[in-house]
Structure formats: structure tokens, C-alpha cells
């Protein structure tokens, strides 16, 4: 029972881990390259949540020193994740560009068909 309560209390982590596993599963289980990239993107996005959630304190404000406030949220995770988002976008763009080139070279984006065509040549 306490296990369940602790899961409900930390529901944000449950969501993060669920997304993480979903993304990783798609990458491993799908043979379609575009779907693989979608999975990879979900996997990376879950990490953004992992960083950002703990940065927010309920009732905390932006870290601008003012006598009216005593509780501040941590702004650093947001900055880190902005960088990580840029990296994620670059990875996705490069991955899609490669898929386009693969489609031009092989005429398909299904991994098993591509292996089949390479074996025949």
C-alpha cells in the first residue's frame, strides 16, 4: 500500500519513466526508420521532464531577490534543457535527412527490406 502511495505522490516521475520506456521500446521494436526516430524523440523528451520537474517548487517564484518572497524555483534545469532541446532537434533533423537519403538509395525505409536488398547485391 505504501508503495502505491509513494507512486501516486511521485506521479510526475511515473509519467517520465513511462515515456522513457515507451520511447526506448519503439526504437528497439520498430523496423520503420521514421518510427524509430519518433521513438528516439519521445525517449529524449522524457529526459527533459526528468530535469524540469524537480526544478519547480510549489509556491516558488522566479529567482529574483525580493523581500516579499522566500521560496524560489531553480532556473538552471530550464537552461540545461533548452540546450538539450537544441541537441534533440539537431539529432532528429540529421536522422530524418539520413532517412530521406536512404529512401533515395534503397527505395524503402523499412530496415528488413533494406537488409534484403543489400544481401541481393
Amino acid at each position: 500500500m505504501s508503495m502505491l502511495m509513494s507512486l501516486i505522490e511521485h506521479y510526475n516521475y511515473v509519467i517520465t519513466i513511462f515515456l522513457m520506456m515507451t520511447g526506448l521500446y519503439i526504437v528497439v521494436a520498430r523496423g520503420n526508420m521514421v518510427k524509430k526516430l519518433v521513438g528516439l524523440s519521445i525517449f529524449q523528451t522524457s529526459v527533459y521532464l526528468l530535469y524540469i520537474e524537480p526544478g519547480k517548487i510549489i509556491g516558488g517564484t522566479a529567482p529574483i531577490i525580493d523581500p516579499a518572497f522566500t521560496v524560489y524555483s531553480n532556473p538552471l534545469p530550464h537552461v540545461l534543457i533548452l540546450t538539450a532541446i537544441v541537441v534533440g532537434v539537431a539529432t532528429l533533423a540529421l536522422g530524418l535527412a539520413l532517412v530521406v537519403r536512404i529512401n533515395e538509395a534503397y527505395g524503402t525505409v523499412e530496415e528488413d527490406e533494406i537488409f534484403e536488398r543489400d544481401r541481393n547485391t
Partner: protein
């Protein structure tokens, strides 16, 4: 000059980054090559000056933008990363002259400038990972170097290069994401991203938060191991190296995996090793088991490989096993052997892949069956190949012997005689796959395919010969490898709990 000297750590990253930007604007391959050559030749002076300074006066701490660590990003150079910086920049400088003809031969004119642009970006990333003292900054550089190496591989002439680049992208991104998850957990525990600061703060979190720390350790280990191709996470490497342009293979095999190994050493010995009692965890056993598996299984696959580039790629996986074996041993001679093997393997693998690049340039094939008797047509190239091949086996008189010697002493220190035997036995497998190639290229009659081949022009030949001579030289004079590595290891093990 005094205005420049304090900024060497930043220049180490900024110069290749600006070079990459410029190379992207230059549309002509020749001009971009000249730029890449200039940048590559400046780098060893910067890294050499920094290593010299750390050996004389201790670690350099550089505060980017003047922000004090742990708030700002700190670039921290000590003997260990000074050593790796010198290795990466020297390899880049030595192999660069080879690139002009090889790249012009394999890559169409319109894409050559982009090739050099990507090389410089990759160099930026690798030097950045090594120089930084901030774990998140290391992630950004890790991705800069990885993304550019995907492109370098995809520029290969065969369509399978695209496929290998895509598979590498998937595996590499999973690795990087695992690394970020590990770093995220460390940040949640300590509130810091500075390596020195994390180590100090983790100390007070252990053992109360031991489960979270072990989870972070596991995520970082798996993530970085994917990048360094630790067996069995090496699946991306053989195809990537086999289908990349020849010169890209040389550069990546000599530097990219080595820098990832450096990052793992940094995490184990400067962060986790300082903060927690690592002996309570079976890290050492796991690493040693995987290393031995790599040494045997990858070597055995190499024995049956027909494509020379793939054969050497599998041999790389096996040789990485020796380096990680040194990490697993974690005593003075063992870790010294591992670090020395980083340098020795980088130099001899670069020599071997350069020789293969020269063969492809002359004979247009890298299949062993079509290369019978090429030793008589390209004697100097194949002589260099032979020397570096003996280095791979670990024959006495070559640098490979030195690293295996120290690894064996490290195993003897722990009374692990079985491991000493395994190191010897795996070298015999290397003897088989290198010997098989040597037999075909030297003793058989030249085939029609290689009849018109001859040694390549000096710009390609000299780098091969230089690296092959380094393999012999470092087998006798070990002051700059064992001496400096021993110095670095003392500092690493000194902090261990």
C-alpha cells in the same frame, strides 16, 4: 603572447569551432582543406603547452566568462586530460596531409568542403569533452562530436554508409541520452554540474542515497560505453568504420572512442571513485569480464573477416577491451597500461587504417582476396602496415608490447594469473588475423587487380610511415607515454576511497 597564454583551454575549443564555421562557408574543397590543415597543425602546440604547464605547476583551471566554479563552466586541465588532448591533436595533425588526395578521390567536389567542416566540428567536440570540467558541457560536446561523426560516416561512397550512419545515430543518441539521465540524477542529488564539486558533494550523500548514486553510475556507464564501443555495445562500430570514407575511419578510430574512454575514466576515478567506496560494487568485475569477452570474441570475428576495414574495426573493439581491462584492474600498473594503450592503439590503428586508405586509393578495393601480392607493389605502405600490425599483436620492440606488459603486471599484482594467461592468449588470436593478411599481401603472386598499384605520393605515404615509426619508437622510449600516464594514474588513484 602573455595575453594569449591564460586562454589556451578556451582556444583549444574555439579555434576548431571557428574553423568549422569558416569551412562551411568556403565552397571549394582545396581551400577548406588548407584551413583544416592550418587548424590541425596549431592544435598540438596549444595542447602541448597546456600539458607542459600541468606537468610543471599542476592543474589549470579556466573560468569561462569569468564565472567562478561551481556556478560557471570550468575548463580544467590536469595531466590526464592534457595527455588525451595532446594525443587527439597530434593524431589530427599527423593524418591531415593524407586527407587531401584521399578525400578528393572518394568524395565528390561539392561535398569536400562539408567534409572538412564536419571534421573540424568533430575535433571541436572531442577536444571539448576532454578539456571541460562540467558534466553537462561534456554532454553538449559529446553530441557535437557524435552528430558530426554521423555525417562523416554518411559521406562514404557506398550506400551502406548511409545505413551505418543511421544505425550509429540511433545507438549514439541512446548512449548520449543514458548519459544525460545519469547526469540528471547526479544533479538531483548534488545540485551541481562541476566534476570536482559533484565529487565533494556526493561524499555526504553516500550511503544515504546509495540507490540513486548507483543508478546514476549505471546510466553513465552504459551511456559512455555505447560511445566507446565496449563489448557488447559495439554493434555500430564495424559497419560505421567499414563504410565511412577512408580518412574519416582513420580519424574516428584513433580519437573518438579514445575520448569516450577518457570520459569513463574521469567519471570512475575523479567523481564516483572519490565520493563512494567503489569496492562495495562489482564494477571492476563487470568491466573486466566484458573486456575479456571483447578481447576474444571480437578478435575471433576479425579472423574470419574478408573486408580489411571491417577486420580492423573488429580488432578495434578487441583493443578497446585491453584499455577497459586497465580501467577494471584499477591499480597503478594496470591503469597505466590502459592509458598507455590509448595512445599506442590510437597511433597504430591510425597507421593501419591509413595504409588501407592508401591501398584503396591505388587498388580501389579493400577485400583481402583481391589484394594478393600487393606488398610487392606498395612495399613502403605495406611495410608500415606490417610494423603496426606487429604492434597490434603486442610483439616485443613495438609499443603494443609495452601496454600489454603493464596490463599483465597489473593482473599479477592482483594475483590473477588466469587473466595474465588470457592477455597472452588473445594476443595469439591477433597474430592469426594479422598474420593471415601479411601472408596474402607478401607471399602470394600479384593479382591483375593490383598489378598497376604503387606506393602513394609523399603526402599520403609520410603520415603512414611517421605513425609506423612511432609504433617502434614508443616501444623503446616510454618516457612520454608510461612516464606521463603513470603521473596521471597516481593522481587518479590518489583520490580513490
Amino acid at each position: 603572447m602573455n595575453a594569449v597564454l591564460p586562454h589556451l583551454p578556451a582556444l583549444q575549443v574555439v579555434i576548431p569551432l571557428l574553423g568549422a564555421l569558416l569551412a562551411g562557408f568556403l565552397r571549394r574543397g582545396g581551400v577548406a582543406f588548407a584551413l583544416a590543415l592550418a587548424v590541425s597543425w596549431i592544435m598540438p602546440f596549444i595542447s602541448g603547452a597546456m600539458l607542459w604547464q600541468t606537468l610543471l605547476t599542476g592543474p589549470i583551471s579556466y573560468h569561462l566568462g569569468g564565472w567562478e566554479p561551481p556556478w560557471g563552466i570550468e575548463y580544467r586541465v590536469d595531466v590526464l586530460n592534457g595527455f588525451v588532448l595532446v594525443l587527439v591533436s597530434i593524431v589530427g595533425a599527423v593524418i591531415m596531409p593524407f586527407a587531401r588526395r584521399s578525400v578528393a578521390f572518394e568524395i565528390e567536389e561539392g561535398r569536400q568542403a562539408w567534409f572538412y567542416c564536419m571534421y573540424l566540428l568533430c575535433l571541436t567536440g572531442l577536444l571539448g569533452i576532454t578539456v571541460t570540467g562540467d558534466v553537462f558541457n561534456a554532454f553538449v560536446f559529446l553530441e557535437i562530436s557524435s552528430l558530426s561523426s554521423y555525417v562523416l560516416i554518411a559521406l562514404g561512397p557506398d550506400r551502406r554508409a548511409l545505413l551505418s550512419a543511421f544505425q550509429y545515430l540511433i545507438m549514439g543518441t541512446i548512449g548520449a541520452t543514458f548519459y544525460v539521465i545519469g547526469v540528471g540524477l547526479l544533479y538531483l542529488l548534488t545540485g551541481s554540474l562541476n566534476m570536482v564539486d559533484i565529487a565533494a558533494r556526493l561524499d555526504s550523500a553516500w550511503p544515504e542515497y546509495s540507490r540513486a548514486i548507483v543508478a546514476a553510475l549505471a546510466f553513465v556507464t552504459v551511456g559512455v560505453s555505447l560511445k566507446l564501443a565496449l563489448f557488447p555495445l559495439h554493434a555500430w562500430l564495424p559497419n560505421g568504420y567499414a563504410y565511412a570514407p577512408s580518412w574519416a575511419t582513420v580519424f574516428l578510430s584513433a580519437t573518438a572512442t579514445k575520448v569516450a574512454i577518457y570520459l569513463l575514466i574521469r567519471f570512475y576515478f575523479s567523481i564516483f571513485g572519490v565520493a563512494i567506496d567503489v569496492d562495495t560494487l562489482p564494477i571492476s568485475e563487470i568491466i573486466i569480464a566484458l573486456s575479456v569477452a571483447a578481447m576474444f570474441i571480437a578478435s575471433l570475428i576479425a579472423v574470419f573477416e574478408e573486408n580489411l576495414k571491417r577486420m580492423l574495426a573488429y580488432s578495434s573493439v578487441a583493443q578497446i577491451g585491453y584499455i577497459t581491462l586497465g580501467i577494471g584492474l584499477a591499480n597503478q600498473p594496470g591503469l597505466t597500461g590502459g592509458l598507455v594503450h590509448i595512445v599506442n592503439h590510437a597511433l597504430m590503428k591510425a597507421a593501419l587504417f591509413l595504409a588501407i586508405g592508401a591501398i584503396f586509393y591505388r587498388a580501389r578495393t579493400v577485400r583481402l582476396t583481391e589484394l594478393a601480392g600487393i606488398g610487392r607493389k606498395m612495399p613502403l605502405t605495406m611495410a608500415a602496415f606490417t610494423i603496426a600490425g606487429f604492434g597490434l599483436i603486442g610483439a616485443p620492440g613495438t609499443s603494443g608490447f609495452i601496454s600489454k606488459w603493464y596490463l599483465a603486471i597489473g593482473a599479477i599484482d592482483k594475483d590473477w594469473w588466469v587473466l595474465v594467461f588470457l592477455i597472452m592468449a588473445s594476443s595469439l588470436i591477433a597474430l592469426v588475423y594479422v598474420g593471415r593478411v601479411l601472408e596474402v599481401v607478401w607471399l602470394r603472386k600479384p593479382t591483375p587487380e593490383v598489378a598497376r598499384a604503387s606506393d602513394p605520393p609523399p603526402s599520403m605515404l609520410l603520415p603512414v610511415l611517421a605513425l609506423a615509426s612511432a609504433t617502434i619508437y614508443l616501444g623503446f622510449d616510454t618516457e612520454w607515454t608510461v612516464g606521463v600516464a603513470g603521473n596521471a594514474v597516481e593522481a587518479l588513484l590518489g583520490g580513490l576511497r
